[in-house]
Amino acid sequence: MSSVVLVLITGLGVGALYFLVASGLSLIYGLMNVLNFAHGAFIALGALIGWEVAEHTDAASWWSFLLSLVVGAVVGAAFAAFTELVLIRPLYQRHIEQVLVTVGLSFAAIALFDGIWGQDLHSVKGPAWLDEVTVVAGAHIANIFWVLIVAAVLVLGGLSLFLRKTRYGKIIRAGVENRAMVTALGIDVRRAFTLVFSIGGAAAGLGGVLAMHYMTGVTPEIGSSLLIFAFIVIIIGGTESLVGTAVASVIVAVLQQFANTYLWGTGDFIAIVLLPIVLLLRPSGLFGKRA
């Protein structure tokens, strides 16, 4: 029993991490049809700058932890906004080229990060509470998982409120639904593009810093490994709703954890094989509209 609880809650925690990374990707893909391969670079930059913050302040204190989260999110947002304005916007409506540019950016940026920070693992030691465990129904859960879950719930709640209640949120939702119509109504969708990229970058940066604490260290490759799972999540969840992305994140991560524990560590295989299966059976994702 306790091991099932452990797998469930760690699955939820890892799913929360996937959601943080995938939420931005899903919004970008839904609105602009750009599958953003540079998202891994956003994650890596957020994590690496977050590491610098932890390194230059008292890493074991909570305010340093919070500061690194905020700085990571801001850096991710700035990098993403830059990407949208300089690389994506000039290639408006040319989807394959947009994808290629993000591939090139990720290729170049990760090499640059390698040059600056090196390929070795930079370890980090956050607040001591993160390493301790809480006992739930006999299962020992590392506290970092609670932080991941809370962060993901806050991001999901915040983004949902933003998308439902604010003018820009409504423009973004309308744009995902039918971009041509929004443009026809005289609304400049391009500003929404930059905004969506910034939000996605912020979530990626935040996810990067949290992933660093989860893995207790960071290399410039941190984003590439997460990105594959983020792709899986958004394809499975469909791109119409954030809740779909959240549910898909949890499903993928919990399945992965269960398989890792009970099926001889085949979790990664199962998660990856889910992608072609879902794409073939339901091309628009589990929660997407039927095409």
Binding site: I96, V99, F107, A108, A111, L280
Partner: protein
């Protein structure tokens, strides 16, 4: 006058063929010549170091040619092409060390295996189009990559495997025999080129190119785009497996990097650099990329770069950073890459000549359809 014009036309028609044949002959003779190209090759052309570098260029050129069949001819953006390269390299490596099969039988079995893998995975992946196709191929390659890193008893895990030289012909073993491997790489590159040429000129290639432009129209015409794409995909996979095998022999081993997603991206960069849709562009892209990668790495370790301030030194010491920037610039500003730029120059020159000669020529044959990056 007429005779001159005739010979000019003949030259235009057969020009590329003559240039290609001369280049192949020159390449074949290089191991016997003492040519020094400072800044490009590490030493004279007859030395093993230079030959190994040139062989690597040819392996990647063959790989780029095979990828061009997907992206250029058929308009398929695959993120999983490294899978077949890795399958060739690992397949041959494992067959050589685990079975007593003779060398050429092992290569045959490896090629059939690569073909079968490409057929199977292609049959699934090609049910999807566009970005979904990119994702499915990425997922397959990732599965392969995971398999290689997990089943370390078979694949050596992170360390990779080394070639069991017992089963390899003596002519392909040892540094002194680098020239034989060089010739092998050249033969494979020429064969891959001829297959690519045949595909592009055949009915198959025409249907694939038409599928790229408008799949619906082909279906309406009663043709079968799926079968066409699958055959092209399988041929490309087979070529990649062949390139992987040469890579294995050349490096006398193979590591997990050969099935990595990064390798696919590298090949994509080569093809875009050379010019999507141009066979000779893919070869040029493979050579330019590999040479730049090697020489920029050497440059990064030189004193000149070392003495620069950090904000210049760090970017300059990362070849992939510079190559990535070049790639982005090509995608953004000249979709045609090297071959596309040269080609449009030649076309413009020809057009101007025709105009100067005041010959009213129909422009139809000038605008041969070239694949664009945009779908």
């Amino acid at each position: 006058m007429i005779a001159m014009k005739l010979s000019f036309d003949v030259l235009r028609k057969s020009g590329p063929f003559i240039i290609g044949a001369v280049l192949v002959i020159v390449m074949a003779l290089l191991p016997m010549l003492n040519i020094v190209i400072p800044g490009v090759l590490p030493g004279p052309t007859y030395q093993p170091g230079s030959l190994a570098l040139l062989s690597l260029c040819m392996v990647y050129a063959a790989m780029a040619l095979s990828y061009n069949l997907l992206l250029g001819t058929s308009g398929l953006l695959s993120f999983g092409h490294a899978l077949y390269f890795g399958a060739g390299a690992y397949g041959l490596g494992i067959l050589l060390s685990r079975t007593g099969l003779p060398f050429w039988v092992s290569t045959g079995v490896g090629l059939v295996g690569g073909l079968a893998l490409a057929l199977l995975s292609g049959a699934v992946a090609l049910r999807t189009v566009g970005i979904a196709f990119a994702m499915v191929t990425l997922a397959f390659a990732q599965t392969g990559s995971l398999f290689v890193s997990r089943s370390s008893s078979l694949t050596g895990g992170e360390d990779g495997i080394t070639v069991n030289t017992m089963n390899v012909p003596a002519a392909f073993v040892g540094i002194l025999n680098t020239k034989n491997l060089y010739w092998l790489a050249l033969v494979v590159l020429v064969l891959v080129y001829l297959v690519a040429l045949w595909v592009d000129k055949s009915r198959l290639g025409h249907v694939a190119a038409a599928t790229r432009e408008n799949e619906l129209r082909l279906r309406v015409l009663g043709l079968r785009p799926f079968t066409t794409k699958l055959i092209v995909f399988a041929i490309a996979g087979l070529m990649a497996a062949a390139a992987g095998m040469v890579y294995l022999l050349l490096q006398s081993g193979v590591g997990p990097k050969a099935v990595n997603y990064d390798l696919t991206v590298t090949i994509l960069v080569m093809v875009v650099l050379g010019g999507v849709g141009y066979r000779w562009g893919a070869i040029v892209g493979g050579f330019v990329y590999t040479l730049l990668d090697q020489r920029l790495t050497a440059l990064a370790q030189s004193d000149a770069v070392d003495s620069l301030p950090a904000f210049l030194r760090v970017p300059l010491s990362q070849p992939h950073f510079l190559l990535g920037i070049v790639f982005i610039l090509i995608v953004m500003f000249s979709g045609g890459g090297i071959a596309g730029t040269v080609d449009s120059r030649i076309r413009r020159r020809d057009w101007r000549r025709a105009a100067e000669a005041a010959l009213p020529r129909a422009g139809g044959d000038e605008s041969v359809a070239r694949p664009r990056l945009r779908p």
